[in-house]
């Protein structure tokens, strides 16, 4: 959302039936409505315009204050910011993506209580890639065809590769965290690998196709998680030495 004039906001909402949708929220930056038009809030929105291709005006009622539930936790706030930035810029205007909408809804609704919001974000990003036509094939190894022992993903084809056939090419492949195969929720290192994996394909396909970079909040989230993962592995190494 961007301020427009003194008290109005240009708002982007993600809807189930109409996909990403712009509108002008009159008084949206004012005292009465500012709490409604926060990134990550679930809003019952109403769009009005004389013609379908006009910007039109949006009015809304707050249903779930997802933003407020993330205020106290910097990591959850970053997750929310990254998800909103991707939803606002990766999806085409007014094309329904019900699966992406449902995934974002689950991510935001569970943000306050979810012990692994990063795993949910990575899964949602993989869903978004699939919905846009750039889905990853994690069902079997691209080399052997086997469905077990999958540990990497080819950065070119987006297909999974098992650990054994990866061999000396493993440094060129992207690590595939187990939580993306449905095993557990992962740890900080797995979340970092997951963000790197989906980030690579988002940057190359979803954003690169439009000659746009990955949104800054998503880049910043990955950098932050890299720092946390390094901190965690450093602490684990210190504990082992003791």
């Amino acid at each position: 959302m961007r301020p427009y004039g003194e008290a109005d906001l240009l708002v982007v909402v993600l809807t189930e039936a109409l996909g990403r949708h712009h509108g002008l929220a009159r008084g949206g930056a004012g005292r009465r409505q500012a709490a409604i038009w926060q990134p990550g809030n679930l809003v019952a929105a109403r769009w009005l315009g004389r013609l379908a291709d006009q910007l039109g005006s949006l009015s809304g009622e707050l249903v779930h204050a997802g933003a407020a539930l993330a205020f106290d936790d910097p990591l959850r706030l970053r997750v929310l910011g990254a998800a909103c930035a991707i939803a606002a810029s990766a999806l085409p205007e007014r094309v329904p993506h019900a699966r992406v909408f449902g995934g974002l809804l689950r991510l935001i609704a569970g943000l306050g209580a979810n012990p692994a919001p990063l795993a949910t974000l990575v899964r949602w990003e993989a869903e978004l890639l699939a919905d846009l036509g750039y889905g990853l094939d994690l069902s079997r190894c691209a080399v052997t065809g086997a469905s077990d022992g999958l540990a990497y993903v080819s950065p070119k084809s987006g297909r999974a590769v098992a650990a054994a056939p990866a061999g000396r090419w493993r440094d060129r492949l992207l690590a595939l965290p187990a939580f993306l195969l449905g095993t557990g929720d992962g740890d900080m290192t797995a979340w970092r690998d997951g963000l790197r994996l989906t980030g690579h394909f988002l940057a190359r396909d979803a954003f690169g196709a439009h000659h746009r970079p990955l949104p800054a909040p998503r880049v910043s989230l990955y950098d932050h998680v890299c720092r946390l993962a390094a901190l965690e592995s450093g602490m684990a190494a210190a504990e082992t030495e003791v």
């Binding site: 407020a68 205020f71 910097p74 910043s220």
Partner: protein
């Protein structure tokens, strides 16, 4: 309508916050009808403000002196700095009379979605001020919005190594507010920030 001077006056007034062409015309008419009592004093006040009011080099507040009257006041708690988004927030806190320390005006909030970064705000000057040992406590009095929370977390992370006491404003029930009238976000935040009822 009334010559180029009047047109220009209306045009300039219409650009002010809260005013449009219609209200600008009404104000211009009022001023021009009473030049001695309205127009001349206003013009003199505007000229004096333009001549003397500057941003304080320490905190960013607007005043006719540098450092500003708040920074120069020896009666204030000089070891407590309240970080605010804008000068309007300084005025609001001064009206409330609740803060007796100093201020630091950021000039906005970090907004990754809008592309506002730390270099666009007065964050380097705040860090320099705190690293120079200017404070024992920093109160992060920023808006209860996503951008406000992002800025609060960013500043807390940056200021943590200095060892200064970091606090932020509470979120919760407004004075005179009832539970059923609150949105669920404020209610949940207020419940999380509950404190002992025994004073």
């Amino acid at each position: 309508m009334g010559g180029p001077e009047v047109e220009r006056l209306i045009l300039l007034l219409a650009r002010l916050p809260g005013l449009g062409p219609r209200s600008a015309r009404r104000i211009a008419l009022k001023l021009l009808r009473e030049p001695e009592t309205r127009l001349a004093p206003l013009a003199a006040a505007l000229a004096a403000a333009a001549q003397s009011v500057r941003a304080c080099s320490t905190c960013g507040n607007l005043d006719s002196t540098d450092p500003c009257s708040v920074c120069a006041d020896p009666g204030r708690e000089r070891r407590v700095i309240c970080v605010v988004e804008g000068i309007g927030d300084v005025w609001a806190l001064e009206r409330a009379g609740a803060h007796r320390g100093l201020y630091h005006v950021l000039g906005g909030l970090l907004s990754p979605l809008a592309g506002t970064g730390p270099e666009d705000l007065a964050i380097p000057t705040l860090l320099a001020r705190i690293e120079a040992g200017a404070a024992d406590e920093v109160i992060l009095a920023l808006a209860a919005t996503v951008d406000g929370a992002t800025t609060t977390h960013f500043l807390a992370e940056r200021l943590r190594p200095t060892g200064v006491r970091l606090t932020r404003l509470a979120h919760g029930l407004p004075i005179g507010g009832t539970l059923e009238a609150l949105d669920d976000g404020t209610l949940a935040t207020a419940l999380r920030a509950r404190r002992s009822a025994l004073s």
